[in-house]
Symmetry: C3
């Protein structure tokens, strides 16, 4: 990891977890043609899903943003595993797809996913400015409140 990114993570009090192992016949990431595709990440913390439920029902926006931050931290952990620990090889985060478990009345998915967008931009600077979609889901695996996948351009 570049010293600058490592310092930023430390300053933000973030320790990247061990990248989660695949749970089935798929893999946490694939590299193809200079792009790194990262599987949908859940808000894992300490080996379990830390924020469960639906926004607009039993999860408020602040908790949803925390879930999105945890998804982003797990995306960075997968990127680190994919890049031999060197997050400085990230040229650009191209796209985040943010999936928010939502009651039908909840319409602030964009605010929830800002938790991930802000963290990624804070850690990576200009390389972290990404396109994204933020949408509301009926439900997510393991009752996670948020799931986020990513496409990154790498060196």
């Amino acid at each position: 990891m570049s010293d600058q990114i490592a310092a930023k993570l430390k300053e933000m009090g973030i320790t990247l977890p061990q990248a989660a192992a695949p749970a089935a016949n798929y893999v946490p990431y694939v590299i193809s043609g200079g792009l790194l595709y990262i599987s949908g990440q859940l808000p894992m913390e300490g080996g379990k899903v830390a924020v469960t439920g639906h926004l607009g029902k039993n999860v408020d926006v602040a908790a949803g943003q925390r879930a999105a931050e945890l998804c982003a931290i797990n995306i960075l952990a997968q990127a680190s595993a994919a890049l031999g620990g060197d997050l400085g090889r990230i040229k650009r985060v191209i796209k985040l797809n943010g999936f928010v478990a939502s009651a039908p009345e909840f319409v602030e998915q964009h605010l929830v996913i800002n938790g991930a967008s802000n963290l990624i931009a804070n850690v990576l600077g200009d390389a972290g400015k990404h396109a994204r979609a933020a949408v509301g889901m009926a439900a997510l695996p393991f009752n996670a409140a948020v799931e986020i996948d990513a496409i990154l351009e790498i060196a």
Copy 2:
């Protein structure tokens, strides 16, 4: 913009709006390796979300199709901003992901997203023929009825 595309837009009575500014720490589009990734676009018209609610509840298929058309117009506006105003640089629309806010009983998401597919194909001709997914969401940001993102191949 190529004269042909400009003429087509005029013939269809479409004026591209100002591309919407990013609402947070993300950007409306990213260019990487000859591809243009456009963030999820809402059915904005005159600076506000023009079609709100859920298909199968308080939005009918015709209104949903109009929402999808507006999303497509905003995709073209973002592409124009990304390409210095020259939509002739679009070699191919590769993929549209169409997200339709849906009551659980509504199962015609494909008809709704046809509003966008038809508009894009009509404006861009063969370059506008895209792969796509059309799926039903629990809810969308700002209570939008439809959100669509896109990947384009550019020159």
Copy 3:
């Protein structure tokens, strides 16, 4: 198709169907820059959607997995059509996006999409190991229980 893949399909009792024709102004796949983007595939069998409804309501996990397998078979059928019948040209399945029609209480979308992940990995071996997202939808076109799209790297 490579002899090995053909033998594997035969061993698994899978006959690839005719690739489904586009239902509107979009196409079932687009090839760009060595990547094959395949439109969202439904669990079609014998020309109709074979598994309908919502997981957690009127579709159990086993039926959902069967739906995911059918989506995967239709993805392979589209890939075969795109690649002149030669699935040996698939260098890597990069990403599957698995959309599962879900009641809000259903949180095992990952188990459902394993139906597709296992089939693709079994047929294609290491080339079939993909990144993925598995998420729960309010509803899907034609009341399909599952929809899956794909990005493949091709030779």
